[in-house]
Structure formats: C-alpha cells, structure tokens
Symmetry: C2
Subunit: 316 residues, 2 copies
C-alpha cells in the first residue's frame, strides 16, 4: 500500500528532524558522485503563466528513489492562492512500487531551500556576524532567516524589498520571531553593515554590485534558479575569494555563476561545490577578511534527502 501524507503531518515531521544535517548529507553525496540526478523536467504554461519542474533521482545504495514535482503559477496571489505547490513521490528501489506520497503543497521545497541557505552560512559565513542582510520579503526571505537560527547567534537583520509596505510587514513578522529588523531602502546600505547577505528575489536584473560588498562578507544567492533570473552583478563573483555552487554543472547554466562566467569575471575552474567543502575536499573560507559567494539553484538530491528524513520520522 502507498502511504499518503498530508501537509500538517509533514510540517510536524519537519519540526522534529535535523533538516540542515539532511542537506549536508545531500550536498556531500552529490559532490562525491553518489547521486543519480538526471536533468530537470520542465513544463511551461502561458495562460495563466506558470511552470512545473520535475526533479528526481536517487543516491546509490539507497532503498528509495524520489520524484518531486514543484509548480509555480504566478497569478495565483491575485486569486488569493499561494503561487507554489507540488507533490513528492517516494518509490522502493527494491521493487519500483510507490511507497509514499507526500502532499506537501510545495512546502518541502521551501524547507530544503531554506535549509541549504543555512548550510551555506554554516560553512562560509565569517565567525562573527553583527547583522544579517535579507533581500526580498517573500516566503524564502522568512524561511531563510528562521533556518539561520541554529547556525548563528545573530538576531540583527536588515531587510530590503521593493515596497516599503512589504518590508514593514516582513519586519513585524520577523520581530515576532525574535529578530531585530531594520528596513532599508537600498541593498547598498546592507552591504556596509551585514557580514551575511541572503538574496531571495525573483529579480531579472542584478541589484547587488561589487562596490556594495565589504571584506569579510558572505553572500548566499538563492533567488535565481533559471538562466534569466539574476540577483548579483558578475563583479560580485569576480571579487569573491571563494565562489561556491550547489552543483557546478547546473550553475554553469542557471543561477548567478553562469552570468559571471559569461562576463569572464570567473572561470569554471574557480568554482567549488558546497558538498566538496562539507566533505573536506575543497577549502571554504580561510580568513575573516575573505568575500565568499554561494549560488544555490536547487538540486534533486535535496528533495531526496529531505523526503527520506521526513518519511523516516513519519514511519517511525
């Protein structure tokens, strides 16, 4: 029988497991070549505009494989519906039968994306953080901050987003979560004060420039997962001492790194993978003065590991 799990059960499981550790395992398995993750499947829709992405695969030796479908329909908020949804199906690698359906409504994708941001900060941010800069005021802007709690003691936040209303709503909500939040009108302000900057927007032209960034800053860019979206001007990556990808192959085509490659600000040989740093086969930050950048585009191995961890809890 295929077990079917609903969102409240999935959220309860998430609150009981170590999602950050699951993402560490995911990135390390990926960089060690132990993950089989074919290219992402994609469906595009015009009216209403939307997309569906299929990420799937398995880790060699595992007893399960996972197929995740995540959708984004960007007119949904006009109808008071969330833009993202989805479903995960976990199969037995012993017989091919579907063992579990996770009706997660896209939540596991949000959670694993936020947890990946925490992993990037854990390995790359400087030891002392006085202020966290968050670009964007949406779901990921909220979740990234929540998932950073276990990896830094800093509770001071600057937030920048397109409208003052959204910034102020974000500030109120995050203050209720125990942060001190200052709204700023430009990402430039944030560069002067924040040692950790997380970009979470859907921007299609870059809004963070190299001259904004001080020595000793780490930037995690997780907003762009397509060839066209772009948050960091290529010179930000050009000035960085360490440029990190979740997947070197995928970041050569999507996210921030491919823009910097095209602009000749970096070479592909300069890019290390987060899983290599976790596994100790590549250096991460080696001094408090370095600038580090991590480009997160999302890989199926994250969906695999978070599903396994959630299911292990649900089926305990």
């Amino acid at each position: 029988m295929t077990a079917v799990w609903q969102l409240p059960q999935i959220k309860e499981a998430l609150s009981s497991i170590d999602t950050i550790a699951a993402m560490e395992r995911a990135f390390q398995a990926y960089s060690e070549g132990r993950a089989i993750v074919p290219p992402v499947g994609e469906l595009l829709f015009e009216n209403p505009p939307g997309d569906a992405h299929i990420k799937y695969g398995y880790i060699r030796g595992d007893d399960a494989f996972v197929i995740k479908i995540a959708t984004g329909f960007y007119d949904n908020p006009k109808k008071s519906l969330p833009p993202n949804s989805g479903i995960l199906v976990v199969f037995s690698a012993a017989n091919g039968f579907p063992s579990a359906v996770l009706l997660d409504e896209g939540y596991l994708t949000n959670a694993r994306t936020a947890a990946a941001g925490a992993v990037a900060a854990k390995y790359l941010a400087p030891a002392k953080i006085n202020c966290i800069g968050i670009c964007g005021t949406g779901m990921q802007a909220r979740l990234q901050l929540q998932y950073l709690k276990p990896v830094t003691a800093c509770r001071n936040v600057m937030v920048w987003g397109r409208s003052s209303e959204s910034r102020e709503r974000y500030a109120r909500e995050m203050e209720a979560e125990g942060f001190n939040v200052q709204c700023v009108a430009s990402p430039r302000t944030m560069g002067k004060s924040c040692e950790l900057i997380v970009t979470t927007t859907l921007a299609s032209s870059p809004y963070i420039e190299g001259l904004y960034i001080q020595p000793g800053t780490h930037v995690t860019a997780m907003g762009s997962d397509t060839p066209t979206k772009n948050e960091l001007r290529p010179d930000v990556l050009g000035m960085a001492d360490v440029v990190v990808a979740d997947s070197r192959a995928q970041c050569a085509e999507r996210g921030e790194i491919h823009h910097a490659l095209a602009a000749n600000e970096i070479e592909v040989g300069d890019v290390v993978e987060l899983g290599e740093i976790i596994g100790g086969t590549a250096p991460g930050r080696s001094s408090g003065e370095q600038v580090t950048v991590c480009d997160l585009t999302g890989v199926a191995v994250q969906d695999i590991e978070i599903s396994k961890a959630v299911l292990a809890h649900l089926q305990r």
Copy 2:
C-alpha cells in the same frame, strides 16, 4: 484538496468509459501539434535491475496537466510481485495544484497501451479478419485481445510464446474470455493464417520476418519501447505499403521503425502517424491486399487522455 484514488476505483471507472475513443483523441491531438509532451525522463537501476519512466505534458487549452511515473523491476516475479507499477498525478492548469493522485499500480499504462492496439487495428486491419495472431503470453498479450473485442468480430486466435506452458495457460485464460485459441510453436505459422498480428514481447532480436507475412495483413508491434528491443525484422517494414507510428519523432529513436530506418528498408518520409490517419490527413489502408505495420512506443498524450477520462468518471 488532492483526491487520492485507489486501483479498484480506477478499474471500475475504466470499465465505464470509452478508452478507445480516448486514445483516438490522444493520437489526433498529438499529430495535430496540440500536445506539449517533453522528452521522457528516465531512471535506471542495476541491483535489482529496473527502470522508472516519467511521461508528462498537456494538451493546449486543457484545464489539466498530467505527470505519469511507470516503473519496471524485472526481478519482481521471482518475489511473486508484478514487474510493473506506477502512479499518475493530475494537476490543475489553472493554478498548478495537484488535483488528483491515481494510485493505478501501472494499470492505466497497461490499459492505454492495449487500447492503442485496438485503435491501430480499427484503422489499419483489413475488414475481414479470420484469425488474430498474438505473439507473447504476458499481461499485454491478454489485454490486447480483450481490447480488440469492440473493433473486430473475430474470436479465433493463434498464440505464440517462448514456452508451451505459458502458451497453454494463455489459451485456457483467453478461452474463458470467449476466444478460440490455438497454440503455435513458431510465429511463421501465424503469418499464414492471421490477417491481424499483434507483437507484445520483450524480444531484443526480431522474430517476425518479411517472408512470414501474407498480403492483406496488419501488424501492430507494441512490445518494443526502447532503442534495443526489437520484434520485427526491418524487411517487414520494408515490404509494408503503409508504415505507421504513434509518434514519428519517438519511433525514429525507439521501437521498430528506427531499426528499419537504420537498415535503409524505409525512409522517415514514408512513415505516417496514427493520429494523421484518425484525423483524415494521411491515408491508412486503401485495399484489402496491402500490408500495414503500426509501431506503438507509447506517448504521454495517451496517459493524459486516459487520466482525464478516468477522472471525469470518478468525479462525476
């Protein structure tokens, strides 16, 4: 809320809908360019050996899109488990939410494949059939015959398969379904007596040769859906007056047609699509003496249309 449907409900729905008409709509939509069906996603497993295929897409203007996962784990019968399983997920094209999960255990794939065989026979077999030849004795050998019932009055069957035990078991079961079944030790025998031959095996080297085939025969080859599986020697396609594909593009890479193309027995311009014949834009059989061949490799549009038809019944 996502509705979750189990196999008994799905089977009941299938018995109430016109699956053959759904497949006619599917092939016509495909050949008219109204279907968006990206390349098939694939996962391969070594130990135990198995595969998972992801077929997905939608028909322009529909309010739904469909993602189907079908698995084949070929050691399962050693464990007294069926080799095939799977799941279908239907999404709203209005907002991207998953509207239904069909826990079909691979049954809808079997049903739509059998219904496609019936469509091929309906449009391509000669008017008078004295005997149906079935190659193979597995699940599809059974279903193909059952789905042929509405499209031909013929109930005389010859069956060929690797072992005499499996042929005799098949004969007993199909006689219980109202057929007169003769077991034969060679597909050559079948060529002399059968105006409609359906090949359903997993053969990797061809076992039907041109010299077996009499004028006025239609052959539907549905066993091969990969680049390597092969049931018909290329000369069977070379001698055919009409060579038909479910998908010209897919059959150029998988199934029977690509072997005949490689052997220079046919040219891609000779191949017509089943949906073109259904839609009246390509001729099918034009005389009782012609030899016709239809290569079915399975396209996502079949999964889309059968899911829509089943769901319309379940949600009535």
